[in-house]
């Protein structure tokens, strides 16, 4: 299993704003989203992520209130006038976050649970999309939809509020809620699915098929806690399934290697299946900063635009 790791994320400019532990201290999700996005974009030029660019569209005169970071200082050097850069932005795209809020998402070996991490990510992506003039929406589900906000340019706040409201508490499945989303989401758009995918790859593919059949731009974020990836336990204990409540005696020393192997195989299979559906797949470790997630999102949007342009 490979995890996309950066250099020490503190070396990346603005990376400290993307540390989930730091983000957990920000109570306001709106502020958090702005912090994440602006921090990411600000540090984008110095980031090690390659292949991502923001296409420059044109200059316009600086107006009071514009972000001074967008001032083209080279042009000012040449012209002694202040001009801001404007980038090419998607407009009128439907953007929705499909957030798994099943009980298993409440797990966290550290101070940040998977759901917290997914919430930060969803908020950041919604804010970013909103800045891109997209219509943002949210669908939170476990075995069924528990929260939904139809995509709209005016629904960012609703989305952020809904993100703050959701509480994991029930077991979850993918098939039924995603089918419901597919039947609701008629217009082609950008769907970001955030889940821990504790189902068989076959069931996952079946769940994604309706969405993939509607030719949405599907971006899958597979969120897992480091403990789920490494299984660092050493004391024999009864392991309790958060969703079913079932307990299972485990001697970690005996199971660790097998578990890791199975987890790797599962992740690889899920990635293969997801990619086979034409979606984008990214495995996220909740102990790592959000920059990778944002990078992969932006990259996927760039590819999608390119492919539409080519078409």
């Amino acid at each position: 299993m490979t995890v996309h790791r950066t250099r020490a994320h503190t070396d990346t400019p603005g990376a400290r704003f993307l540390d989930p532990v730091v983000l957990a201290r920000i109570d306001n999700l709106d502020l958090l989203a702005r912090t994440v996005v602006d921090g990411f974009l600000h540090g984008l030029h110095g980031s090690p992520y390659l292949g991502l660019s923001m296409e420059f569209a044109e200059h316009r005169a600086y107006m009071q209130g514009d972000d001074i970071r967008k001032i083209d200082w080279r042009l000012f050097a040449r012209t002694d006038r202040h001009y801001v850069k404007q980038y090419e932005a998607e407009t009128n795209a439907n953007f929705a976050v499909l957030l798994d809020v099943s009980k298993s998402m409440s797990y966290g070996s550290g101070s940040v649970t998977k759901l917290d991490y997914a919430r930060f990510l969803a908020a950041a992506l919604a804010y970013f999309s909103h800045r891109q003039r997209d219509r943002v929406g949210l669908y939170a589900f476990d075995t069924e939809l528990v929260e939904h906000v139809h995509p709209s340019v005016r629904h960012l706040d609703q989305v952020l509020h809904a993100l703050e409201r959701v509480v994991p508490g029930r077991p979850g499945t993918l098939a039924a809620p995603l089918f419901t989303v597919a039947s609701t989401f008629h217009r082609r758009g950008i769907l970001v699915l955030i889940s821990d995918f504790y189902e068989t790859p076959e069931r996952i593919v079946e769940a994604l098929r309706p969405l993939a059949g509607q030719r949405h731009d599907l971006i899958v974020f597979h969120v897992l806690d480091p403990a789920e990836l490494e299984f660092p336990f050493d004391r024999p204990a009864s392991f309790e399934d958060l969703e079913t409540g079932e307990r299972f005696p485990v001697v970690p020393d005996k199971l660790r290697d097998g578990y890791r192997q199975m987890m790797r195989e599962h992740i690889a299979e899920v990635e293969r299946r997801v990619l086979g559906q034409g979606a984008h797949y990214t495995l996220l470790d909740t102990s790592r900063p959000l920059d990778l997630a944002l990078f992969r999102y932006l990259l996927s949007r760039q590819k999608a635009k390119t492919s539409r342009g080519a078409a």
């Binding site: 004391r235 009864s238 958060l242 079932e246 097998g258």
Partner: protein, 702 residues
Amino acid sequence: MPIGFLVPLFLAGLAAVAIPIWVHLTRKQRSLVVPFPSLMFLQQVPFKEDRRRTLHHWLLLALRTLAIVLLVAAFARPFFTGGEALAVAGAGPREVVVLLDRSYSMAAGDRWESAREAVARELGDLGPLDRGNLIVFDQGAEALVRSESDRARLRTALDGLEPGWGSTRYGPGLKLAQTILEESEHPVRELVLVSDFQRRGWTGEEGVRLPAGTTVRTVPITGAAAVNVAVADVALRRDRFSGRERVAPSARLVRTGGDGPVEVPVVLEIDGREVQRRTVTLPAEGAAAVDFAPMPIGERHTRGTVRVPADGLPRDDARHFVLSPGTSLPVRVFTRAGASSETTLFLSRALGISEEVIFDVNTRPWGAGAANGLEPGQVVVLADVPFPHGGGGAALREFVEAGGGLVVIAGQSGGWSGNEDAWFGARIGAPVDRLERRGGRIGRLDYDHPVFQLFRGTRSGDFTGTRFYRHRALVGSDGAGVLARFDDGSPALVERQIGEGRVLIWTSSLDGVWNDLPLQPVFLPFVHQLVRYASGRGETLPWFTAGQVLDVSDARAMATAGLLDVIEEGAGLEGDRVVIDPAGNPVRLPPGGGPHYLHLENAGFYTMRQPGDAAGRPLAVAVNVDMAESDPAALDPEEIEAALAATVASAEEGAPRSALALQRANLERRQSLWRLLLVVVVALLAAETVMANRRSPAPRAS
């Protein structure tokens, strides 16, 4: 080393060892619950089914299990049983009592050294937990060391020990050993008897009962049969020659061992100087008499010794005696006024013939003033005289009550004149004729009485040949002591103690008229015994036997010892007196009144000086060994062993077990292993606590 348990029932607690094992198998899994997002993969990981029952944390389990095992063992009170099997008389600390015979026969040859070596071996074999006791005995017993574990102290007690002068008696030593063994708490008890086992020391009725479990061993001390010549006895025949008293010693020698006759020189020593020497031929296993020439007795407390050369048993090679000029006994014989001298002829003549006690006889008719000068210690004989009345009679009563002796010879005129029957307790009745069958005879004599003891042995005198033609009746003599009866049962000689004195009534006569007693050989010794007994004086002993005790504060005992100065002068036996024993060592007697006993332990002369009488001749007491100890006849030691083993208290049912239980309890108490085990348990539990707290906590879901 085998281990036993005092309370093995507690070992059932070992079942508790299963508890930590069960806990390690189950409780860890149940107690720790780790929330996990999904068991999807955990349940799919292949593993062996028995992994769920695997024990973990082996060291922690071992600590807990070991702590339980040791705790259970501590309650079961373990102890090491040692290399020897536990038997009732087996392993365990011993109480060993060694009885060492120190009678003077043990001084023969090398017996004493052999005995000391045997005792040293017994004491040297004592274990570190054993206790030893050393008792020395002859006719008495003394515990030199009692319940001592320090072998050095036991050996020290043996050092310098020498045989005594006493004869053998096993009873006192065995009784003392019995006391020690009964008081001992040790489970194993042993009695070791080291002796030459002379037969005469064992009567078979010692009255010893040894406690249960006591083993008896004898260590016979024998040596080569030593040739022994002993001075068995010395007779001192007194007489008077030219107004001076003389004594002619005669010694009897006995030889044991050897072959053929031997010439033995015999020496007579007076006050430590050889005065006469004789040579006698002694056959093997035979005896001989040696007569020495008469010699005058000049001074009181003359010390004499008859000695033969030292031989295998030197302690019986000398016989000591103390001589003093004959002591006179004043005897006042009163007759009727006008009575012929024949009335007292036989009596006076008999009293005039004496060797040891000189009777100073004064015969006179009773009359006025006759009772003047009567003093206690004297004897008054009323020969055919009625008891005086009036002042004389009163004086006579006072004389008797003050300690004087009165002999009333009834005769024709004798008897009470007043109410003396009430004073004496019997009335002298009318004469009784015994003319049938040629007169009456003496029917019964009290041979246990001092008057007639002399006649107890065979050929010591026969009263049955005496004929009595007449005697007086004695009425109401139930309260008096009847010393002799006629054949018709009437009293012949009656005694009564009145005050400090004695009154004897002879109901016949001594003049040869009413009987022919004066013509009998027994008449002279009878008269002597009668008068001497009436005086209250004991026979002066020329010597004592080793082991006897003399109360130097008792005037009568001192008179018996020949120390008449004390009585005659009436000097009080007070003040600081020093007695020198035969070895020359002083034996200081405490001042003040009360009995002061002098133990005559050694043979030889004990000398004693009166306070303030440094220039005078010291008083002397001769002490000799008991000749019976020289009898070499030995007793089979196995006979004593068997006899003593039979006295061992019979073990009741369970007693062997109780002795064994005591032994086990004693072993466990001494080792106290349970204390050590508890300390180890505490240490194990402390280590378990530290180790258990060091386990890292499992991660939990938020």
